[in-house]
Amino acid sequence: MKDTVTVRVQKVKKSGIKTRLIFFLILVAILLLVTLFANQIAPYDPYAQDLSRSMLPPSPEHWMGTDRYGRDLFSRVLVGAQTSIFATLALVGVISLFGTVVGTLCGYYGGALDSVVMRISDVCLAFPGLVFALAIAALLGGGVSNAVLALAVISWPKYARVARSQTLALKNSSFVAAARLSGSTSGQMILRHILPNILGPILVTAMLDIGTMMMELAGLSFLGLGAQPPTAEWGNMMSGGRSMLQTYPWLVLSPGFAIFLTVVIFNLLGDTVRDYMDPKNSRAR
């Protein structure tokens, strides 16, 4: 027996996480740019009615056909993206910000504040999410901003919990104790040391949440509690074509496909961001 242990190192395979991240970031950027300039790109006025051209099937002239008032569906899907995507991003932005602030304060200060806020968040989590949102939206009345508010009320606890658990873990670390011994006030410790260190998990949660929130927002609109007709929004466009699904399927399929595509892109980006942030991959970057 010559060798007991033989080590032969070949080049460690580099994972393509960074490439994937860039790819999905570009896709999201294209999506956002198209949304932003939807009014300029749209070939027709999304609100112009022409009853003589209603219910046309997809054709080179109308890529996605027209609806029962003769409005061009492609233009409506494009402009509808503004409501759907921007409302979703605003929603995720608000709840992640609010949840993080509340969760960090609870984790840091603990005590009565922590108990009270966490019980409130338990109450929010105890209801089935969409049912609770339906109740709130119904109470507030229709409209995109009310739907966003309703979903925000049920969704912030998730972020508060992530931020709280991360803060609790950091609070007992030596470097936070060292910062306290350096004479830092609580505010300075939270801003300088705790928030920058918990941002990663919060960002990943937010990215993965965009798809879900978009579906729920479209769901509320579909039920008539979000964007109100004639506003172009994917959820209420699907709702409007619901009864004609078998005869004029493009009425539902066009906005449905838009939702599908957007949710998939944001979910894939969220997954990639999570993989990228994963400390186990830190060498593969």
């Binding site: 030596s174 470097f175 060292a178 011994l181 350096s182 004479g183 300088r192 260190n197």
Partner: protein, 228 residues
């Protein structure tokens, strides 16, 4: 912790030994007011700090500083060592150039080149990180330094260098050390006085040679027997 009473005199090195769970780290946390005692008093420089909290503790932290057990864990992973070292002076409003000059000279006293100010904790070794932690503790010219197992995460050669550095600093700056440790041999050569803790109580105290060579209490005997 139960009925533990001791004091550290100026310029003295007091060793605290005991097994895991005997309350060594709890003492460090009590003195630096990271946790509150149920009853009892903690005085620093004649001032009762037991009831102080929040901002009132900031002047106290100018007199007493601490070096932690885990070298890398005692620096914020997202900030440079320089940020960590300068934090105490930054909080006092000392201008950037001035505090960086002081950090640089302290780092050099601790045996690290000045460019370590720009490094991140994951870019330096445990021994280097611990030297930086000592420099950080010295930034606000404290009178007492607490070492909570500060050398136990280091290998023996680095441990020896750090101890030599501490002896030299102690002579230069007339510091008092509270040296929490479970290495009896180290305590014997390094400390002026030693306190043996067991189950939250002081079971023995005295000169290191006396305690280690002819221990009086049962626990101290067992502790010494277990090692030698």
């Amino acid at each position: 912790m139960d009925h533990v009473s001791f004091s550290v005199c100026p310029g003295e090195i007091l060793g605290v030994v005991g097994e895991s769970g005997s309350g060594k780290s709890t003492i460090a946390k009590l003195i630096t007011r990271q946790i509150d005692p149920t009853t009892g008093r903690i005085e620093i420089d004649g001032q009762d700090v037991t009831k102080l909290s929040g901002r009132a503790l900031i002047p106290v932290y100018a007199k007493i500083q601490m070096v932690f057990q885990s070298p890398a864990g005692s620096f914020d992973p997202r900030r440079t060592l320089g940020d960590g070292i300068c934090e105490s002076l930054r909080n006092k409003g000392v201008p950037k150039a001035e505090r960086e000059a002081k950090a640089r000279s302290l780092l050099e006293q601790c045996g690290l080149p000045g460019e370590f100010l720009e490094r991140y904790p994951h870019q330096v070794s445990g021994g280097q990180c611990q030297r930086a932690a000592i420099a950080r503790a010295l930034m606000c010219d404290p009178r007492v330094l607490i070492f909570d197992e500060a050398t136990s995460a280091l290998d023996v050669t680095v441990q020896k260098q750090i101890i030599e550095l501490l002896q030299q600093l102690q002579k230069e700056k007339k510091l008092a050390y509270l040296f929490i440790c479970h290495n009896l041999a180290l305590v014997q050569q390094f400390c002026d006085r030693v306190v043996v803790l067991y189950d939250g109580k002081i079971v023995e105290q005295g000169m290191p040679d006396e305690v280690i060579l002819c221990p009086q209490s049962d626990y101290a005997k067992r502790l010494v027997d277990a090692i030698f």
